[in-house]
Symmetry: C2
Amino acid sequence: MQLHCPLPGSSSDVVQMAHGAGGRLSRELMEKVFLPHLSNSLLESLDDQAKLSLSSGNVAFTTDSYVVSPLFFPGGTIGELAVYGTVNDLAVGGAVPEFLSAGFVIEEGFAFADLEKIVVSFAAAARKAGVQVVTGDTKVVERGKCDGVYITTSGIGVIREDVAVSCRNLVPGDVVILSGSIGDHGISVLAAREGLSLQSGLESDSAPLHAMIAFLLDAFPGVHAMRDPTRGGVAAALNELASASGVGIELDEDQIPVKPEVKGACELLGIDPVSVANEGKVLVFVPERGAEPVLEAMKAHKEGMHATLIGRVVAGHPGQVVMKTVYGSRRVVDMPLGEQLPRIC
Amino acid sequence: MQLHCPLPGSSSDVVQMAHGAGGRLSRELMEKVFLPHLSNSLLESLDDQAKLSLSSGNVAFTTDSYVVSPLFFPGGTIGELAVYGTVNDLAVGGAVPEFLSAGFVIEEGFAFADLEKIVVSFAAAARKAGVQVVTGDTKVVERGKCDGVYITTSGIGVIREDVAVSCRNLVPGDVVILSGSIGDHGISVLAAREGLSLQSGLESDSAPLHAMIAFLLDAFPGVHAMRDPTRGGVAAALNELASASGVGIELDEDQIPVKPEVKGACELLGIDPVSVANEGKVLVFVPERGAEPVLEAMKAHKEGMHATLIGRVVAGHPGQVVMKTVYGSRRVVDMPLGEQLPRIC
């Protein structure tokens, strides 16, 4: 990409501090790199705020910052992650994702070619997820004050009137459904970062879940809770929900799908697949009678093809997640402490 | 602040990578540093999305990333800036600011004491601006991949039904009103960064403008446009509006309030006060008959005490801003090119 770049001694193929200063070069960065891919009438107005007309004032609002390293990994980019992560956080709240904002912090010297690749993947992901990117901001910081690009997205979705999900809604008797194999994202990013080649061609599961979730809610609106098990994996998500609802959760290790290459990598690294991040999976908590319609609806979608019932909500051991292992023993699945896999999203 | 911090060899008074990994330490970071100051029922639900009930589906939505250096400067902190900047972007769109999201990217090794100072100022600013912080995220990156803390906020406000402002609404005959002196923020941050001491005690003008703007809109709802002249200063804001509306703007240098210490610093540095960032000022564009009620309403507020009419919108030289200088000559006020003052917000 050629940018008009009249600063003395500057090179035209990388981002410079001047692109972040709010003047002519900031404007060019917006007009040449972002707008061509993200074009829509709301964004193009270039007002400092987007004016939205929502079909209802009952909305879900969420935000996440994305600092994944590396920026490009098998199955995705930071751009896709920044869209799908936020879209999924809206969808699991029972909302139809509609609008996104994006704040890019860019390191001085970052190649325009790479920035454009990220913006292109970001825009394609937004189209796939059915959301409009309506407002944004870019900042540039000096070399060594960022790691290429960080993106923060916020999302707004209109909450479905027929649905009332919350992490405090689990009750004993609910079943726990997982939409597919776990750990694909975390292990893919780790492998890319460490330069390991996984011969199997394992890829991140990064994907938008709004369509599958809308479909399963149509099939059974009485879902109690949903959560996408991202950072901290299934272990963190289940512990949070057990604790918020004051219930116990029992899992069947047998039933949790883990690809052999993920299992292998986890054994090698001494980490537990249940605490590895996913970016295209959802946990669904439903009364037992909802299990069949929900599973059927999920399996009709690519993202839920391997959906399966992995456990139950119980009255015993409130706040605790207990797993029946493949060996028949029982072990507590703790909230992960910390940094087994940093900068995974 | 004492955090439970059981990692071997770790020190408990700085942020570690593990605080960003989505596990128990992430939870502690949230519960010990953020929630005590930002407490509200929506945030405390700890769902991955906040569920809001807006009085109307006509909303303004905006986002900005804040990377100011240093994090603490005379008259403000990055926390205040991150609240007021986004609140003001909503207010100048004719919206009543209601909800904020916050994404914090934190550098490993950052002192908890400083993080808490930032969160405390962030929370106080939100209270002052009348907004609730309802959803957020924290990420931690390795030393040298950030500069302490970056914050991205997004805001939602309900648009007033009696107001229709837009950067495309200027028409010849409109007058340009500025709420007070320019350049205070940019010069204060620069002085703090370079270790210069300004004997005068100059401070950033960082402030929420929602109350004054609501008051002036009550007095005269027929305002055509408003803009807070932040990054790129009054020059960037006026050039953007002139270009968006296809009109010219004429300024009276005589009428633009610049404090002597800002003028002096700008002369020393060879920069133009009209291109220096402000964080508590607004430009208001109104038909001539609105000038008096708007000025009167602004002057009734501390933030607009020194409000003054600085120019007019004209049909000639569309897209161009021309200033009658104090010497009686005329010069074009260009869109600033780039980085006179980087990382000012």
